[in-house]
């Protein structure tokens, strides 16, 4: 038989009882629809998180946190007091000071270590007329790159330069991000004695909106000064940033982290953090996909059922075809292709419906819950995740078709013709 005739025969057979074929396809369809949506959601979230996180580019910057030294066993016996071996049970008690900075600096390949200063500011204003609270004030470290709406990053040596958050453009009467450049703003701080201090800054850049929010950044040295003035002493820091050579090899980086661990700290690069987030998203996606795959497998059992019934109904016909000279393997292929086609159409319609539903959800989400998150498409459907779904449903169809196809191909023509 010609290949085209075999495919056409399979196709004609499927159309013989359209309702039954439709219902069989429906099971595969629902599974594929679900799988397309869960995959689309996973891809969308991952894409967005990666875009956002990788927008914050800090080559060679490592975040350092203290490794928590928990009491060895909460149910164990009390230990003898030793001032040199104190264990912290909660994060709140942990703070890193100058001692830690010196310890970390001594590690090879670490060039500089910065603490985190977040002094509380009272308000921000342009002309003392209208005052606005400002509580997302962060430090600028040389080498840190975040998305900019206009301008540039502050010069690390110029304490009076500021990178203004996008959010403050409107209230400070700037129409465009570029209008703000070169203008000055005042930020007022208060210390523990209740005294106020006013600082004037020149806007050199405007930071763009992102998942992490749009922050205002001032040079590290300026914030350190303010922070010291506010409480009258050096302040501990929950985390530290260490600057390393961005061109360190993987081995050198691993060694560096190992050294940190030995000294009682955890170090993670931006890449580590992205990987951690991706692992979480992948796991969630895997669980969701597992449910969808179960539905597709149930659909596969439906295919077995339908085709077995079809073999019984068509026993006479199969007998005739064999008497007329059709070979065993051709009978097998005809039934296998029927199963494959059910899987294929279930897959195609499921994917198309999934994409349509996905775009609907995207539209709905972008106008409601995700209104403020620019650049976030809830679901995306990259070809490299769609093709495996289609191949997968066809594979399920093919596997499901094997049993009925073998049954049909092994039918003895005489017995098959004799059956009423």
């Amino acid at each position: 038989m010609k290949v085209i005739d075999i495919i056409q025969t399979s196709n004609t057979n499927l159309l013989r009882s359209p309702l039954r074929t439709f219902l069989t396809i429906l099971a595969v369809f629902i599974g594929t629809l679900t799988l397309t949506l869960t995959n689309g959601l996973g891809s969308g979230v991952k894409d967005f998180v990666n875009k956002q996180v990788s927008a914050v580019n800090a080559p060679g910057l490592i975040t350092i946190t203290p490794a928590l030294r928990f009491s060895s066993n909460p149910l164990g016996e009390p230990e003898e007091y030793n001032p040199d071996n104190q264990k912290d049970d909660t994060l709140s008690t942990v703070s890193l000071g100058q001692e830690d900075i010196d310890k970390i600096k001594s590690i090879t390949n670490i060039k500089a270590v910065y603490p985190v200063y977040r002094p509380k500011a009272e308000y921000i204003t342009r002309d003392n007329d209208k005052k606005y609270t400002i509580n997302n004030l962060e430090q600028y470290i040389e080498g840190l790159e975040t998305p900019l709406a206009a301008g540039r990053f502050p010069d690390p040596n110029k304490n009076e330069e500021i990178l203004l958050s996008y959010k403050y453009l409107g209230v400070l009467n700037f129409n465009e991000p570029s209008d703000a450049l070169g203008q000055s703003v005042k930020i007022v701080y208060k210390n523990i004695l209740g005294e106020l201090k006013e600082r004037t800054y020149t806007i050199v850049g405007v930071s763009a909106n992102s998942l992490a929010g749009s922050v205002t950044r001032i040079n590290l040295n300026e914030l350190k000064e303010i922070s010291y003035w506010q409480i009258g002493r050096e302040q501990g820091s929950p985390i530290l940033f260490a600057q390393t050579d961005p061109n360190l090899s993987k081995d050198e980086l691993t060694k560096l982290k190992q050294e940190l661990r030995e000294k009682g700290y955890n170090g993670s690069s931006l890449e580590d953090q992205i990987n951690q987030i991706n692992t979480v998203i992948d796991t969630i996606q895997l669980v969701l996909n597992a449910f969808a795959i179960i539905v597709i497998i149930a659909g596969g059992i439906g295919i077995i059922n339908t085709l077995l019934m079809s073999v019984y109904e068509r026993t006479n016909e199969i007998g005739l075809l064999k008497a007329l000279g059709m070979k065993e393997h051709e009978v097998f292929i005809i039934f296998a292709i029927e199963a494959l086609l059910i899987g294929f159409w279930g897959g195609v319609f499921g994917i198309i419906a999934g994409i349509i539903v996905g775009y609907g959800i995207n539209y709905f989400a972008s106008t409601t819950i995700l209104k403020d998150l620019e650049g976030f498409t809830l679901m995306i459907f990259p070809v490299q995740s769609i093709i495996p779904i289609l191949l997968g449903t066809m594979f399920v169809g093919l596997v499901a078709g094997t049993l009925p196809a073998i049954k049909a191909s092994k039918l003895n023509p005489i017995d098959a013709l004799r059956q009423e």
Binding site: M1, D5, N316, E317, A323, L324, G325, I414
Partner: protein, 224 residues
Amino acid sequence: MIKVSNLRKIYNLGKKNEFTALKGVSLEINQGETVAILGKSGSGKSTLMHLMACLDQPTDGKILFDDITLHDMTAIQAANFRNKRIGFVFQQFFLQPNLNVIENVCLPLMIRGVSKSERIKKAEQALEDVEMLSKRNSRANELSGGQKQRVCIARAIVTEPEVIFADEPTGNLDSETGEKIIQLLFKLNRTKGITLILVTHDLELANLCQRKIYIKDGQIIEES
């Protein structure tokens, strides 16, 4: 053309329900003959036909078709052999209900791998031979019994076979229609030289053939 010697067929050999259908049958059929195989149901006549038509394997004995020993062929060779050299006409027609008349007639050629235009041309010729060309696009289940059997005959002759095995071809037809079908088969025998082997329990029908072979309990009891 067909030479059967000492043919034996035992079903379920070695099992409790062992059943001997043929107990040593020998016969010879020449090219262009019309032969009736007569017998009651259960006599073994259908088994004999199945063996001669290469649909089944004998337990013992030999069938020569020209120079080919039938049971020496592989399954694929046997399938090709049936497709090219044998035509079948069945009592129950076995037309595909979802296909129309011409598609049904095309089936054996499609199985053979003939191109679509070629097989339609041949199928139209075969339908003309059985005077059914006007129904070429009808659904098989819209036809009367006699029309169905004509389509079956067209399906049998479309491959230009050497032999047609007709298994109770008039069994589902009234006598007048059956008569016409038989006339058609004999006409094809005369005009195309196709050997006709008729399996039937109807003596009247058998009398129209050149030779009659009576079978009872798996043996030939009379030949005329």
